[in-house]
Symmetry: C2
Subunit: 370 residues, 2 copies
């Protein structure tokens, strides 16, 4: 299996995403090709370090670039101000300069936090992403959004800071728990639902091969990165089209907040899966799209084993008004008006502004019972 390269076209901030098996162990050479003199710090978490840190440190050391290593606790709680302060302090303590590189080795939490730290130390250092989760490979490692959570909401604090290079080691995904792989797959399906109906149909046929690994997995990840890179190149700072990438995220974030970001109940990709099904069902309720499309989305999510309705979340949920309050604190609110990503049919999503709050609340009431 060869390595696939996806280019992210952002002018003087353009970079490559390499996708294929075994890239972590080649990290030293691949980074040195692009940033010949950069010294490195690796930021990772305890779980990922156990599985993947050694080959990366060896490959960097082999090219004469022994890295500093900063290891954090695994989990969403690490996306906090206090972890940010720790990482920033340790990068400065390692005396890295602007032209040196900070490497994120891990999933979305490590990538978002590390990118933020790299974006603010000395007002911006080189940043390299080595995503080790499905979610990070197809979503958070592409596009330059970095950040941490506020006690008042997810991802409310951060910067845009593009990486210089992304190495997506597809073999690393074999070490993931199935549930986590599956959650990341929700974002893969999302790209089909946004504007690539053929890709969605391909996934309906080939999802088992994506899960089992091999060429279909590389293909699905590459397609996802290309889809995201296209949108990001059009709208780097999310003033327009980029909001399409939030399909499923408004409902999804509200559900994550409503479950207090408790991964035992709901992880991000699962929230997105339910959110996408809800966005399609809500579009049907508003007579924008056929209920058949919503049913097809629900059927595919169910087939791969993802949750697709609120009642799939274990434990109690707050009532519809409380869920609605979580939505209004989400960052996709503009000037008090409610903005949703809705759809006119499979692969025909669009940005809907001024969605009436009353419709949202009635819909949530219905779905809470569903």
């Amino acid at each position: 299996m060869s390595v696939v390269t996806v280019e992210v076209g952002l002018g003087d901030r353009a970079y490559e995403i390499l996708i294929g098996p075994g890239l972590i162990a080649r990290g030293g050479e691949l980074i040195q090709q692009r940033l010949p003199k950069a010294r490195c710090a690796i930021v990772t978490d305890g779980n990922v370090a156990a599985a993947h840190l050694e080959p990366l440190v060896e490959s960097l050391t082999a090219v004469g670039n022994a890295p500093a290593v900063i290891t954090l606790p695994a989990g969403e709680k690490t996306k906090s101000f206090s972890s940010l302060e720790t990482v920033v302090d340790q990068i400065i303590a390692a005396r890295l300069e602007r032209g040196d590189a900070v490497i994120a080795l891990g999933g979305g939490v490590i990538g978002d936090l590390t990118g933020f730290a790299a974006g603010i130390v000395r007002r911006g250092m080189n940043f390299v992403q080595m995503p080790t989760s499905m979610l990070a490979q197809v979503d958070s490692s592409v596009g330059g959004k970095t950040g941490i959570n506020s006690p008042r909401g997810k991802n409310l604090i951060g910067v845009f800071h593009q990486p210089k290079l992304v190495l997506a080691d597809t073999a690393a995904l074999d070490t993931l728990p199935l549930r986590e792989f599956r959650a990341g797959y929700a974002e893969v399906a999302k790209y089909g639902l946004i504007d690539r109906p053929d890709f969605f149909a391909w996934l309906e046929q080939n999802w088992q091969e994506v899960f089992s690994g091999g060429a279909a997995r590389i293909e699905a990840i590459a397609q996802s990165c290309r889809a995201k890179a296209d949108v990001v190149a059009r709208d780097e700072f999310e003033t327009g089209d980029r909001a399409l990438l939030n399909l499923g995220h408004t409902f999804g974030h509200a559900l994550e907040a409503a479950t207090a970001y408790d991964g035992a109940r709901l992880v991000h990709g699962e929230g997105v899966a339910i959110g996408m099904a809800l966005a399609h069902r809500f579009s049907a309720r508003l007579n924008l799209a056929s209920p058949d499309d919503a049913a097809r989305v629900e059927a595919h999510l169910r087939a791969v084993g993802l949750p697709w309705r609120m009642s799939d979340i274990p434990g109690d949920l707050p009532d519809a008004e409380a869920l609605f309050n979580y939505i209004t604190q989400d960052k996709k609110v503009t000037r008090g008006a409610l903005t949703f990503i809705l759809t006119r049919g499979l692969g025909q999503s669009f940005i809907a502004k001024d969605v009436p709050a009353s419709e949202v609340i009635s819909f949530l009431k219905e779905q809470r019972q569903g």
Copy 2:
């Protein structure tokens, strides 16, 4: 006295600096002209609030835009991670969105901290600067550098985030202690020394009028903002020429660090004053410039009452090696080589790379005794 406008030409991030008396009390109207629908939060400190908060709140309220107010303790210690967290949290708590505006009302500390917070909440909100110190009016409020201090060094953490508008109320400077006004004046003189020898000569003749207020003060501030805006427009992200603005800052920051940022001993502008004198004296020692130029700089700083040599700092300083270590932790170090802003004569400063460490240390030893 009329209001002078300086344009900062940064493409789609271009903005205006208005300079003149009474602008704080006109804040509401001037912000509304440019950001018609933005809700506002004001970040300030206790001292500035006592002198200037009321007219600003009144002017915003008068245009139907009652602001949230976030008041912090005055002083350099406020440029910390914990203050940043407080400001970020309160902006989010006020439910401000990306299109709303965060106003910095205060000196450099408030401006740098607030700009950083505005740059990271929701990955970048509108930001308005209302600098109330001389230093902030001529330096920190122009150019988009924001940030906080690390326990390991000053301004090591931050982002580039340009304001939408700067209102420099020159009458506000009348409430400053003389020492603080004078410290800010060091940065005014700096623009002459970088590349405007005629401006420096004008200052040698007119500095008393700048201190006493009136048209000469507005003129000096406008010239300074224009000088800085020119450099920033050429090199927004400090990859080249912008480093010239650091004239006097490498030595100055080291002295600030060596005195533990104790404002009773040395404030930033005083560090810059001594740093500029040292940069000219060091240039003479390296046979780059005439000792007469260094003497002229020293004479002007002495005339206005600024410190100009290390022995002007009250209390003990660490030895030359320790001072040198503070220099190497400064952010103006690139890849281990020492970069200084030196000069070939008055108003002929340049970026000197690969300055030998041994020369710096010998020079510091000499000067420590001077």
